[in-house]
């Protein structure tokens, strides 16, 4: 478990996250937390003229799983439509994270960026 969970790929994203920061004039701008573990994420995104995700940035603090998931998420969702985002679930997030097996307690951490994005898109509508 732990050796799998703390594999190099996830640790790299945790220590050197992609797209860390916040976009100005963003279409999506949302902060979300996991109250039980104290993970916090601030997610910003811009959509292109076709309504697809053009750019995503995140900032926040949390465990390896939530932060690595957020880092990978910012690249993973580029070019996706809102329908595609709303259809995303745990399976796709786990695949995105290299097929990592998550225990029940860590699922919420991994889903934090996706849930933030879904909520942010809902707020925008």
């Amino acid at each position: 478990m732990s050796s799998d969970l703390y594999r190099e790929q996830l640790l790299d994203h945790y220590h050197n996250p992609d797209n860390f920061g916040a976009l100005e004039h963003a279409d999506v701008d949302i902060e979300m937390d996991n109250p039980t573990c104290g993970d916090v994420i601030h997610l910003t995104a811009r959509l292109d003229s076709a309504g697809r995700i053009a750019e995503v940035m995140f900032e926040g603090q949390g465990c390896v799983i939530s932060m690595a998931s957020a880092s990978m998420f910012t690249e993973h969702v580029k070019g996706k439509t809102l329908e595609e985002i709303s259809a995303m679930g745990l399976t796709e997030i786990q695949e995105m994270m290299g097929g990592v097996k998550l225990s029940m307690g860590r699922v919420k951490c991994a889903l934090l960026p996706l849930n933030a994005m879904k909520e942010g898109l809902k707020e925008k509508q």
């Binding site: 478990m1 732990s2 050796s3 969970l5 703390y6 640790l11 945790y14 220590h15 109250p35 039980t36 573990c37 104290g38 993970d39 916090v40 603090q61 949390g62 465990c63 390896v64 799983i65 225990s103 307690g105 860590r106 951490c109």
Partner: protein
């Protein structure tokens, strides 16, 4: 007297298990303890030998089970030095016991403009019921603060008692995060002098040290069986005259004397507060747990845990990026909450699991306390009778592993 930890571990079947090929190092008893064979057997024996519902049957096994159920009540009364077994109420857990007081006593005694005083170190179980009562009633909720050193700032209490509006002071006998033991006897004296009642949360204290409810000066005290080697059942103790005057909390079978079409009369204590079929096997299992702990001796248990926790604090100080929450002076029961620079507690717990070491990560149902220290979460190691210095060594070794994986 020294505790023979190796012999005690043999009483707990779970320690035969290996976790990821490693010995199980269970450091989460503050959340829930493991169960000795004696408790498991007592419940099994009841189910296989003399199970029936309590209080109603006129046949042999129903009488046997009722006798065992009521014997446990008397046993628990002796264990906490309650004057009368009828003051021992079987509930689901400490949380339900505290809710019972907040609803039954609180609804009838706390009014708009009154004050409820709690401490900043309360577990949510002794916080949210009072917070919500205050909101329902338009009463004020005031907190006794916790100092940076993790101790209760007792001089904040007298001003809260001065105007006579405080109806109840709710405090934990031992913090589940800091391991601190607030001066509850002193708090009770001060509260009583101001005409307020004292409701104590004994969930963390009862499993680890001898507790005498009369010496503490409590009016109510609640605790959970599952943290003291027993199954999932809770106990509420309250002073007889208070319980007598309180309305029932739950209504239904067993708690009534007579029921007519448009009114009902209540049963005597403790049955007035035990509506419906209780957790019979669990209560009997708790009786076995009380016997098990009493045979070892609560003072022996307490002394052993003091030794283990002192060793833990000493060894944890070896890791420069690790910080322990709470006081290093004064008395601390077997709970050590800590955080590590730039490492999330969830990651600590997950990596420790790989070494068979079980700790808890989160806010441990004490969010306002974590807010007070500006920490979203901590990791917590807690010790009990089956833990020894080898377990501390295993913890520290695993923490070094956490540093090597994440501490760059």
């Amino acid at each position: 007297m020294q505790l023979d930890v190796a012999a005690i571990r043999q009483e707990f079947p779970i320690f035969e298990r290996k976790i990821h090929g490693k010995r199980l190092v269970f450091l989460d008893s503050a959340a829930s303890s493991q169960k000795p064979r004696a408790v498991i057997d007592a419940m099994m024996r009841m189910y296989t030998h003399s199970y029936a519902n309590v209080h109603r049957g006129l046949y042999t096994i129903a009488e046997e089970v009722t006798e065992a159920y009521e014997e446990t009540r008397a046993k628990i009364a002796r264990f906490i030095n309650a004057p009368d077994p009828a003051e021992i109420i079987n509930v689901r857990n400490a949380t339900e016991g505290l809710n019972l007081v907040a609803y039954s006593w609180g609804e009838t005694h706390v009014h708009a403009g009154d004050r409820i005083v709690i401490t900043e170190m309360e577990h949510h179980a002794n916080l949210v019921p009072w917070q919500q009562l205050a909101l329902r009633k338009g009463a004020q909720l005031a907190y006794i603060p916790v100092t940076d050193a993790g101790e209760l700032q007792l001089d904040a209490l007298p001003p809260l008692l001065a105007d006579g509006r405080t109806k109840v002071v709710a405090c934990s006998v031992m913090s589940n995060v800091l391991g601190a033991l607030p001066p509850v006897t002193r708090i009770a004296e001060m509260a009583h002098a101001a005409g307020a009642l004292v409701v104590m949360d004994g969930a963390q204290a009862i499993p680890h040290r001898a507790v005498d409810v009369q010496a503490l000066g409590a009016d109510f005290l609640a605790f959970s069986g599952h943290k003291m080697c027993g199954p999932g059942v809770g106990i509420l103790w309250g002073r007889r005259e208070l319980l007598e005057a309180m309305p029932p909390f739950l209504y239904g079978g067993d708690m009534i004397r007579t029921v007519k079409r448009h009114y009902a009369k209540w049963n005597e204590l403790p049955y007035k507060f035990e509506a419906g079929t209780p957790a019979i096997a669990e209560v009997i299992g708790l009786g076995a747990a009380v016997d098990f702990l009493s045979a070892i001796g609560m003072d022996v248990i307490h002394a052993h845990e003091q030794e283990v926790v002192a060793y833990a604090l000493e060894r944890l100080a070896e890791i420069p990026t690790l910080h322990v929450l709470g006081s290093s002076r004064g008395e601390r029961n077997g709970v050590v909450s800590f955080w590590m620079d730039n490492i999330h507690p969830h990651d600590i717990a997950a990596i420790l699991d790989g070494d068979g070491v079980c700790v808890r990560a989160g806010h441990h149902c004490a969010q306002p306390l974590h807010d007070r220290f500006n920490l979203p979460a901590t990791a917590r190691a807690s010790f009990y009778i089956y833990n020894d210095k080898d377990d501390v060594d295993a913890l520290v070794k695993a923490l070094h592993n956490v540093v090597s994986i994440l501490g760059r």
